[in-house]
């Protein structure tokens, strides 16, 4: 898939580039999956919002901990 620009207000301060949405690798306790998250197209700094961290991501973490 092609990376497209997202959340135009968030810029990578180091590369001075807007973040783009694209595939990143999320991993926990030896399990990993590909997810689409905003990141810097140059340095690869991946952004995780608080809503994601305390929502879906937390659910998955807990499910994996209980597996």
């Amino acid at each position: 898939m092609t990376d497209k620009a997202v959340e135009p207000q968030l810029m990578c301060a180091k590369c001075n580039k807007p973040l783009v949405l694209g595939k990143v690798k999320a991993s926990y306790l030896g399990n990993s999956f590909d997810v689409d998250l905003p990141h810097c197209p140059d340095c690869g700094f991946v952004y995780v919002s608080e809503a994601l961290a305390s929502g879906k991501m937390l659910q998955v973490e807990q499910a994996l901990e209980d597996k």
């Binding site: 301060a13 690798k25 926990y28 590909d34 952004y47 995780v48 961290a53």
Partner: protein, 775 residues
């Protein structure tokens, strides 16, 4: 967990024992269940429960001799529930019993029943329902002859007729006017034995002429019948009813005899043991504990029409008088046990299943980690069953198998690591001494909460105790023990032990009751005393309490780890009295509760921890007095005014209003305590560390960080990383920076601005999952 141990625990939870009404009833009618339905107005559901057990509900509802009522526990609080009257009004609503639907029997047997009384009819109906071919011989030209002797007001013919409709619908071959004879004029027992696979004799109380010689008899000439199996001396012949129990007609006992004789006959056909597993047959006592003192006395509802009995509304009112009987003593006192909606027997099974599951989610992990291990459940349990023991054992299993969710205890264990680090630990003799008469161990939480009080009480002890008072800062290992991390617990104990031996094995004085517990339970060689007993011996600081504004009446909360330490509890009470404080008792020291910190529940399940604190702080309007720093701070965290005993001693302006310092300040306070003691007591030159990153954190953000278990130190590390590498985001609209750092296993995010050289933290959050751009 050992399977046998699990079964032993389960057997000690008595909540599933039947209520007294049900246990006492010879056929175990679920009277409690019926009455619960009736209390809600659902008489139809109540009837269904009744008719499931009782083959002739209309008749029995009128004439049952209701032994249940004499066992009813409401007797202790206003008078037994009128169960019989409730059954009557329930049945009088005219609901239909289940249709007669016999099972399909692959091995249909022929059974002769002699006597169409309640025992014979019950046996006939039960066996016909099993799919057998039943022939019923009755001497009279009608069934239930004995019931015709009842007053028609008590037992109208219409009531009998209503029940007999079901008999008519059955496949039973009814032979009326066919008495058992011994002269060939009617069926003879020997013919029945020849022609049928089994026989039940329900022939009333009188001896059967000529039976002698065919069946063994009792001294008064009746058939000798086994009270458990209803067997006679002939293997095919069973008997019961008033032939067995004699004079004094008991309709429900006749139903009982017919029911269980039919079960024996069925067992005979299956070649099964007649005697095995019949312990719960018939009228029983129950182990179910019911605390009737909890219930205000209330007299039975009197029917407006005593002859007719209860009207519908009166039935509901009487049913609502039923408690109903449950034990649940532990569940009533523990918000944790209440939170999960069940009771220990089921929890234990869930916990065992959780441990032994091979595939799938371990759904009880969090439940296991939500017990405070405080011991109150065992205290109130009639069988001394403690869920703490169960949960700690389960936690050990989880840790051993690598199944303990890392997020549950990670924060607390990192806090433990801090308390074991050089930033806090210290072990010294009193300056000027080469030995210690006593070793003061203030513990990590008092040091975290009130470092000044630790320094001042140490100074006081040094003044009052001859021979020198050593000081040891460190952790007793309680968090490791609660997390079932035996490895960490062992290391912490070893560290303590090495220092304690270096100092000459002095008796240890603890300020914290959890430390006291850990030493008492796990370091038997260490002679241990509580600070409160010691202070009672050596006296409180003389000029103390100046300027302290503490109310003269306080409610005392004993830390759960002192539950059985009566001496310590009494010392604290006497010390408080010496300060002119009047104490309100909550539930008494032996029944004290956890403050929500025990067992690390606060970290594994904040919701449950808060419920526990909130219930405790709601018990008395007075400010609370406790002698555990963690209890005090947890009460303060949830908005309760509370003082630690040393607040009474060293006071200050309104100490009960002191806020919970929070996790960041707790660690800072420990470090600062060590540095200040080294400077002030041992005269060492120790500099306070300089802070390269100065934070500005609003109270609101700080409270949010507390909940999320994010330390200011985590934030500083994150900002240091972002500022040194330039790796950060900027929000073009707000101008805020977003920094991210993953020191070990947690990724921290901080949203911040830089104002006048200070870092203003707008929010922070974290996650454990690692994210990287796919390569």
């Amino acid at each position: 967990m050992d399977g046998q141990q699990v079964r032993d625990w389960e057997a000690r939870c008595i909540e599933e024992q039947p209520p007294a009404c049900n246990a006492t009833c010879p056929v175990h009618v679920d009277a409690r269940g019926m009455i619960e339905h009736m209390a809600k107005g659902d008489f139809e559901a109540a009837f269904a429960l009744f008719a499931r057990v009782i083959p002739f509900p209309a008749i029995i509802s009128r004439i049952c001799d209701h032994p249940c009522e004499s066992a009813c526990r409401r007797n202790d609080a206003g008078g037994a529930i009128r169960i019989h009257e409730l059954e009557k009004v329930c049945v009088s609503c005219g609901y239909e019993a289940l249709p007669f639907k016999p099972q399909r029997s692959r091995d249909k047997k022929k059974i002769a029943i002699v006597g169409a009384g309640l025992s014979g009819l019950t046996a006939a109906m039960d066996l016909a329902l099993k799919g057998h071919e039943v022939t019923l011989y009755e001497a009279q030209a009608w069934v239930l002859d004995r019931l015709t002797r009842y007053d028609r007001i008590v037992l109208p013919e219409s009531v009998i007729a209503a029940d007999l409709a079901r008999l008519d619908a059955s496949s039973i071959d009814l032979r009326l006017g066919a008495p058992l004879t011994n002269n060939g004029s009617g069926p003879e027992l020997s013919d029945l034995i020849d022609n049928y696979d089994a026989i039940f004799l329900g022939i009333g109380p009188e001896p059967l002429p000529g039976i002698d010689g065919q069946l063994a008899t009792t001294a008064d000439g009746r058939i000798a019948i086994d009270a458990l199996t209803f067997a006679t001396s002939h293997p095919k012949v069973f008997a019961g009813g008033s032939q067995r129990y004699g004079a004094g007609y008991s309709p429900i006992t006749s139903v009982h005899d017919g029911r269980y004789a039919a079960q024996s006959i069925d067992r005979l056909f299956q070649g099964a043991s007649l005697t095995a597993s019949r312990e719960n047959q018939g009228s029983q006592t129950t182990r179910l504990y019911v605390n009737t003192a909890r219930h205000a006395p209330a007299p039975p509802v009197m029917p407006r029409d005593p002859v007719r009995g209860y009207a519908h509304d009166e039935g509901i009112a009487e049913a609502q008088r039923c408690f109903p009987c449950h034990c649940l003593e532990c569940v009533k006192v523990c918000p944790y046990l209440e939170h999960y909606g069940s009771y220990p027997k089921r929890y234990i099974r869930e916990i065992y299943n959780n441990e032994t599951i091979v595939m799938g989610q371990r759904k009880s992990n969090r439940m296991i980690d939500s017990c405070t291990l405080c011991g109150l459940c065992a205290e109130v349990c009639p069988e001394d069953l403690g869920m703490g023991e169960v949960c700690l054992s389960a936690r050990q299993g989880m840790v051993e198998k690598g199944r303990m969710p890392v997020s549950h205890h990670d924060f607390a264990l990192r806090d433990l690591a801090f308390s074991r680090s050089a930033a806090f630990t210290l072990a010294r003799h009193q300056p000027g001494f080469h030995g210690s008469a006593l070793l003061f161990f203030p513990g990590c939480q008092l040091s975290a909460s009130s470092p000044d009080h630790v320094a001042r009480i140490y100074d006081h002890l040094c003044e009052r105790v001859d021979g020198g008072v050593g000081l040891m800062l460190g952790c007793c290992g309680a968090p490791a023990h609660w997390a079932a991390r035996d490895d960490l617990f062992g290391q912490t104990r070893d560290e303590f032990r090495a220092e304690w031996e270096r100092l000459g094995r002095p008796p240890v004085v603890t300020a914290c009751s959890s430390c006291y517990r850990m030493f008492a339970d796990h370091q038997p060689e260490v002679k241990i005393e509580s600070l409160w007993s010691l202070l009672e011996r050596v006296g409180l600081p003389g000029n103390a309490n100046e300027g302290a504004s503490v109310p003269t009446t306080l409610a005392i909360h004993d830390p759960c780890t002192t539950r059985h330490e009566t001496d310590i509890q009494q010392s604290v009470r006497r010390l408080a009295a010496s300060r002119g404080i009047t104490l309100n008792e909550l539930d008494g020291a032996g029944n004290t509760t956890c403050c929500g910190f025990g067992g690390l529940v606060q970290f594994a399940n904040r919701e449950v921890a808060d419920k526990i604190v909130d219930r405790r702080i709601g018990q008395d309007d007075a400010d609370y007095l406790t002698y555990c720093a963690m209890c005090r701070d947890n009460f303060a965290r949830r908005g309760k005014r509370a003082v630690h005993f040393l607040d009474l001693v060293f006071g200050g302006e309104d100490p009960a209003a002191r806020r919970d310092p929070g996790f960041s300040a707790r660690q800072e306070n420990r470090g600062r305590l060590k540095r200040s003691l080294l400077r002030d007591v041992w005269g060492e030159k120790v500099n306070e560390p300089t802070q390269d990153i100065e934070l500005t954190v609003s109270a609101e953000v700080q409270a949010d960080l507390e909940k999320k278990l994010i330390l200011e130190d985590d934030i500083r590390q994150t900002l240091r990383h972002a500022e040194s590498t330039g790796e950060k985001l900027v929000d073009a609209a707000s101008g805020r920076f977003v920094a991210c750092h993953r020191p070990v296993a947690i990724t921290y995010w901080v949203e911040y601005t830089i104002e006048d050289g200070r870092y203003v933290v707008h929010r922070a959050y974290s996650h454990r999952m690692e994210v990287r751009r796919a390569s």
